[in-house]
């Protein structure tokens, strides 16, 4: 798709290309960008095209077999592990992004002022963010563990669980959502805080003079002006959750399935599932693309890279 667009653009603009490369400053610019662009095209864009191609064939880790059309996709939608992964991923994404946004916005609004100890708060906020996700998962798994885990102990003591957290898939999913909220809410808060700080104070002053209530100021001023930052943060988080892998793998090994763990299992563990796993990979790519389109077209996210 990208290449097709590139080619038609080239035909139309041969004179334009000559003009671009005739100019020394522009020529230098292209040479400077070329290395980064080439490696991105070769290692990311070419493989996705190859992945789509591969999904139409019977293939395994050792090579590509015969053309089977959409059979891999049909098989994928009949696969129980895939459907469980899809189900878990949808629940995980919707619930965790929802809570991260609500809590993150609350925190951002609360700390959007100068106060003593601000640096400490910022550092504390960054700690969960800076951890490798898979290591956070290991840490939390230790706390959820049924012999030495403090959370399992407390949950058991106050009687909200009847069996160990790590041996129940529903509890595992809830736990994973909790860990994700812990890990990424601070980052969400940070992005929203940066957005809040671009809203000039006199806008609020004017609204207050005109007698606007706190609620009115929030819904009529803060939210609309914060919308670009909110959409960027939400899109980032949604796409991140949609491909959740590290967290599930680190917390539960193969017990907790997501779309990505299904792909990984197919590609790297189960020889027979290679084709179906790769079809699921293409499925993740297409759905992620649709999610991005939804944010940009339906919700009106701005994508211009120039200011």
């Amino acid at each position: 798709m990208t290449t097709a667009r590139g080619q038609s653009g080239q035909k139309k603009g041969r004179g334009l290309l000559r003009e671009e490369f005739g100019n020394p400053e522009r020529r230098t610019a292209y040479y400077m960008i070329l290395p980064a662009l080439l490696i991105i095209l070769i290692v990311a864009f070419f493989p996705i095209a190859y992945s789509v191609y591969l999904s139409l064939f019977q293939a395994n880790i050792n090579g590509v077999g015969q053309f089977v059309g959409l059979e891999n996709y049909v098989e994928m939608f009949q696969n129980d592990a895939f459907l469980r992964g899809l189900n878990n991923t949808v629940i995980f994404t919707v619930v965790s992004v929802f809570f991260e946004f609500i809590i993150g916005l609350g925190i951002a609004l609360a700390i959007n002022r100068a106060f003593r100890g601000r640096g400490l708060v910022r550092a504390a906020v960054l700690v969960p963010w800076a951890f490798p996700t898979v290591i956070s998962a290991v840490m939390w798994r230790l706390m959820f563990q049924d012999q030495v885990g403090v959370i399992n102990y407390v949950a058991n003591a106050i009687g909200i669980i009847s069996e160990p957290i790590l041996s129940d898939r529903t509890l595992l999913l809830i736990a994973a959502i909790g860990v994700d909220v812990w890990k990424t809410t601070p980052f969400m808060a940070l992005l929203l805080l940066a957005g809040l700080q671009t809203i000039p104070g006199d806008v609020y002053e004017a609204a207050r003079v005109d007698g606007a209530s706190v609620m009115q100021r929030f819904f009529r001023i803060t939210l609309p002006l914060l919308k670009p930052a909110i959409l960027v943060a939400l899109l980032f988080r949604t796409l991140d959750s949609w491909r959740v892998y590290d967290l599930f793998w680190g917390m539960a090994g193969r017990e907790l399935e997501s779309l990505s763990t299904f792909v990984y299992t197919g590609v790297r563990i189960s020889q027979l599932q290679f084709s179906v796993g790769n079809a699921a990979a293409v499925f993740i790519f297409i759905t992620a693309f649709l999610i991005a389109i939804f944010f940009i077209k339906v919700l009106g996210m701005q994508t211009s890279t120039e200011e």
Binding site: E20, A36, A44, Y153
Partner: protein, 284 residues
């Protein structure tokens, strides 16, 4: 009037207290898991399995750390992580700063197309390409080598690197390069002699973020490296659950060890990291 201001100040005192309670709670929730796991890593096995769990360590011990540092696989994994993250950072900064300078400073027609392509990567589900990459890497024979992960990490870190560097480069005063060019410097010389030294703080921030990204990467390492000799810590530590089956103290010690460099980086450079992270997102 006087009454109004008095009640106003009364409310603000209460507000301040509530505010700090809230902030303290927030900080506590953020760091408590790390502190708890640290506690798990320095207590004896008996205390670890105590029921109910102890709140503070009774008699701190370094046994768990002795166990994991005595394990050659763990030491090797630490070295592997350092090599992979270090090399990825250097490569990213080299290609990234060159490209970012062109985007921030030079005029050319396909700029927004180029930026869109680069940014598309950060929205790209990496898992979607592990199957073809695995086949290709096997063809060229780099499976189970550092390069398989370094190359892939570089591609997925480059958007971040370029994005942040563009924001930093744009903030540098233009006049200096103009002056250098008037004095007869070429674009490349202007970049090397004027921009690079001025941009050093920004480049440094970007280096930290890229390093953290590569240090934390798990999916590619877990896909391309099955040989324990090349595995980074992110792959090695989850596997410890099967190696040190009931030695939860050792698992905790390993997890704490790999996060310490990150905690230090964050504490030292939190202001820079935040400015780097939010540079693109807000100004974009």
């Amino acid at each position: 009037m006087a009454a109004a201001s008095a009640s106003g100040s009364g409310r603000s005192t209460l507000g301040t207290v509530l505010f700090y309670v809230f902030v303290a709670l927030f900080v506590l929730v953020s760091v408590a898991p790390l502190l708890w796991v640290f506690k798990m890593s320095i207590i004896t096995k008996t205390e670890l399995f105590a029921n109910p769990p102890t709140f503070l360590p009774n008699s701190p011990t370094a046994t768990s750390y002795g166990t994991i540092f005595g394990d050659e696989r763990f030491r090797k994994a630490l070295i592997n992580s350092t090599i992979i993250a270090g090399v990825t950072t250097v490569i990213c900064l080299f290609f990234g700063s060159i490209a970012a300078y062109a985007i921030a400073r030079l005029r050319f027609r396909f700029k927004s197309l180029v930026m869109t392509l680069i940014l598309a990567i950060s929205f790209f589900p990496a898992v979607a390409i592990i199957a073809p990459l695995f086949l290709q890497y096997r063809t060229i024979g780099i499976i189970d080598t550092y390069w398989a992960v370094i190359i892939t990490d570089t591609v997925f870190a480059l958007p971040l690197t370029i994005w942040i560097l563009v924001a930093f480069f744009k903030e540098l005063p233009r006049d200096l390069e103009e002056a250098a060019k008037v004095d007869g410097a070429t674009t490349i010389q202007a970049f090397r002699k004027v921009i690079v030294p001025l941009a050093a703080p920004g480049v440094f921030t970007t280096a930290i973020l890229t390093f953290i990204f590569a240090w934390n990467e798990f999916l590619f390492a877990n896909t391309f490296l099955f040989d324990a000799d090349t595995q980074p810590v992110t792959v090695a530590i989850p596997n410890f659950a099967t190696v040190y089956t009931v030695d939860y103290g050792a698992q905790a010690a390993a997890a704490v060890t790999v996060t310490i460099p990150l905690v230090i980086l964050v504490l030292l450079f939190q202001r820079r990291i935040v400015s780097g992270l939010t540079a693109g997102a807000v100004k974009g």
